[in-house]
């Protein structure tokens, strides 16, 4: 609940930053200055100490993402010769198992990537990660977009630092849309009409790979926001009531199921990985894909012709009971292990990562939207599609995360795996029945 409000705040701040793009971008750089001094090398506390080695684990294994992280680590080690950083990169899906196996081990990574919401709070409650308030300087803290910084807080204590903001959009192939005289849909009915037109023209309308289970859950997350009243949604997600009795949940899933029944998704949707779906879209084999803004650069901009694609917000269901001004978003995080022997060195490295220069480079190379306020609004290194996406984000009033990250882990698991079976053997009613039962079990356990 508190998170939602803070997210609203965060977004307003992004909006503010964007509103004044050029001028605003330069202004706060003063507050970013201290971080730069540490990057200059030699002045950080860790630099003078004894040899320090720590482990860093992240999940950006893509060949066009890896160099950024390698350069970051290497340049830091060059400037701080006494520090050795051992990096381990584990791709997205196995990461979810890996991180748990590692946290139980003797050799826990000192610094690691994690998702927000349920993930951070669970790690924090079990004391697997360390609180950062006492380790971070005030200047460092102040350099963040303060609203977004709260996504790494549990009960007001800072446990992790936000890396990038992720919001889903519909990406479309401009050529295919032009060939079929399609205009951008804004309502759900128009959206369905577009899909029908494309299908009749022999084009697969939408690439979707749900083998991992989260890709279709992202549609449901977004549709839930539209179909279920905002307050009810919050009460259910955070298990304040955990009723999940609103008919909107069933309607949301049925909208998705209808799309599949009409053949708007690609063949083999349930058994295909989302990465293959991405490849099919960027190879021009499908007209649209629903994906998040932090993926734009790596999966599409780098692989498609410059002006061959664009984005629009998921169309809205007219007359729906939900709050149509809200969107789905999540913020990935870095956390420091509570067993780390060198938390100071890790924080020093983080300060280096979050300095203006490296953040700008990150925006440029990876297309991640920075969480550092002096960099967030900087469109200099951006590209049109991301700018368009940010404009859509700015119009929206608030956010809630996707179901797989925000809810209690076992409720989310039941929900998500239910959605995988929605397309063949289960009805939306059955799935919600199971979600209700699991929510009741978890509430009883609490």
């Amino acid at each position: 609940m508190k998170r939602t409000i803070s997210m609203i705040l965060a977004i307003l701040m992004i909006a503010a930053a964007f509103a004044g793009c050029g001028s605003e971008a330069a202004a706060p750089s003063g507050s970013g200055a201290p971080t730069e001094s540490s990057s200059a090398g030699g002045s950080a506390p860790a630099a003078e100490g004894d040899a320090v080695t720590f482990k860093f684990m992240h999940q950006w294994a893509e060949e066009n993402r890896l160099p950024y992280w390698e350069n970051l680590v290497n340049s830091y080690m060059e400037a701080n010769p006494n520090v050795t950083i051992e990096t381990e990169v584990v791709p997205n899906e196995p990461y979810k198992e890996k991180i748990r196996v590692m946290l139980g081990g003797n050799d826990v990574p000192d610094l690691f990537f994690t998702w927000d919401g349920e993930w951070v709070s669970r790690f924090a409650k079990n004391k697997a990660i360390t609180e950062l308030d006492s380790l971070m300087s005030d200047e460092f803290k102040a350099s963040f977009n303060q609203g977004i910084l709260t996504t790494g807080q549990v009960d007001g204590v800072q446990y992790s630092l936000p890396i990038r903001t992720c919001v889903n959009f519909v990406l479309y192939n401009k050529q295919i849309f032009a060939d079929n005289n399609i205009t951008i849909p804004t309502t759900w009915d128009e959206f369905m009409a577009v899909c029908e037109t494309l299908k009749n023209a022999g084009v697969t309308p939408i690439a979707l790979g749900n083998a991992e289970g989260w890709a279709a859950a992202h549609y449901v997350s977004a549709l839930n926001v539209q179909m279920v009243p905002w307050q009810t949604l919050n009460d259910d997600y955070y298990l304040v009531t955990g009723d999940f009795t609103d008919p909107g949940y069933v309607d949301a899933m049925n909208l998705l199921k209808a799309m599949n029944d009409k053949g708007y998704f690609m063949d083999g949707m349930t058994s295909t990985s989302q990465n293959i779906a991405r490849e099919m879209f960027n190879a021009g084999q499908t007209a649209m894909i629903y994906d998040q803004c932090a993926s734009f650069k790596t999966y599409y901009l780098d692989k498609m012709e410059a002006d061959s694609w664009d984005v629009f917000a998921l169309p809205v269901v007219e007359g729906a009971k939900g709050d149509l001004d809200m969107m789905v978003a999540w913020v990935d995080q870095f956390a420091v292990s509570s067993t780390s022997q060198h938390p100071d060195a890790v924080i020093d490295f983080l300060e280096y990562f979050y300095n203006e220069e490296n953040q700008l480079q990150m925006q440029k190379e990876l297309g991640f939207v920075s969480t550092i306020s002096s960099v967030t609004g900087n469109t200099e290194n951006s590209f049109p599609q991301l700018v368009a996406a940010m404009e859509i984000i700015n119009k929206c009033k608030g956010f809630i995360s996707v179901i797989d990250l925000e809810m209690d882990g076992s409720v989310a698991s039941v929900y998500q795996s239910g959605i995988q079976e929605l397309f063949t053997t289960k009805t939306a009613e059955q799935i919600m029945e199971e979600v209700r039962a699991e929510a009741a079990r978890v509430k009883a356990e609490q």
Partner: protein, 297 residues
């Protein structure tokens, strides 16, 4: 000279130590762990038998058990029934030369790792790049060219099929060895009595490979409850939880859903089932340390 007990233990100690620590203590600990709520990075909270209560109310557990049973029934049909029939045909004299080649080729899949077989089947069945659906469409069966692994009602059967593909040749090889040990006189006597090939299969082959049959039966049954790799690789229990088996349920609960205690309870159930089957196996073959055993066939 073989009466020095201390000398005997000197030889036995490494084996006893390894087996004690990684098997017996591990099983004991598993039961202990199943009485707590915990995950890899948390403290353990005593919950008594709550994990077991939850287990028996959990639809996924029953789905898993059902899939294990399906695995068992189908595996027994193919790896015992059909494999024996195939072995008998291959051992027919008129087919012997071809038979040797045949059994080697059919044996090869069992040498591959389950990971490779799982990936192979996953790719074969993939609607976009696999050859199965393209072949079906080519012969006019486009209507059944579905998303095999993405469909909740077909996924588990595809996984089971991959396992049969891999292991039928293996048990067939074992039956062939057993059949080869049957003296030729038996068949000749049957022939003189006027038995045709099918009759001599039922009256000579089947009774004489009884022990190998029992052996294959029990190992196939136990194997069906140990399944993990192929399911993990091909479907990871999906879509949803439709192709979950106990092994993947254990893994997912423990390492994905932070419920190590619950996972241990699943482990305990797997243990009870495989233990009972193994005891039956050892009983049936009367294996003991005196050197009298029947399992060899």
């Amino acid at each position: 000279m073989y009466k020095n007990t201390r000398g005997a233990y000197l030889y036995l100690i490494p084996a006893i130590l390894l087996v004690s620590v990684f098997i017996y203590i591990a099983v004991g600990l598993n039961f202990y762990y199943s009485l707590f709520r915990w995950n890899t990075y948390s403290e353990k909270v005593w919950v008594g038998l709550a994990n077991y209560t939850r287990l028996f109310q959990d639809g996924n557990f029953w789905t898993g058990l059902k899939n294990n049973l399906l695995f068992a029934v189908i595996s027994v049909t193919f790896q015992v029934g059909i494999a024996l029939a195939l072995a008998a045909v291959l051992e027919q004299k008129w087919l012997r030369r071809f038979g040797g080649f045949c059994r080697t080729v059919l044996f090869v899949p069992s040498l591959l790792s389950m990971t490779v077989v799982g990936l192979m089947w996953q790719l074969m069945l993939n609607p976009n790049m696999g050859f199965v659906n393209k072949a079906l469409k080519a012969v006019g069966l486009g209507a059944i060219a579905i998303d095999w692994l993405g469909n909740a009602s077909t996924a588990i059967f595809c996984v089971i099929a991959s396992s049969q593909w891999q292991f039928v040749g293996y048990t067939m090889m074992l039956f062939i060895v057993a059949i080869q040990k049957i003296p030729d006189d038996f068949y000749e006597a049957a022939e003189i009595d006027g038995a045709n090939a099918i009759q001599s299969f039922f009256y000579v082959t089947v009774p004489n490979v009884r022990e190998m049959t029992l052996l294959n039966l029990t190992t196939t049954l136990i194997g069906a409850f140990k399944v993990f790799d192929e399911v993990y690789v091909m479907t990871n229990g999906g879509p949803g939880r439709a192709s979950e088996v106990l092994g993947t349920l254990l893994f997912r609960s423990g390492f994905r859903e932070d419920a190590m205690g619950y996972a241990s309870a699943v482990g305990a159930v797997i243990f009870v089932i495989t233990f009972a089957l193994s005891i039956a196996q050892i009983r049936m073959f009367k294996i003991d340390s005196t050197g009298q055993k029947g399992g060899e066939g």
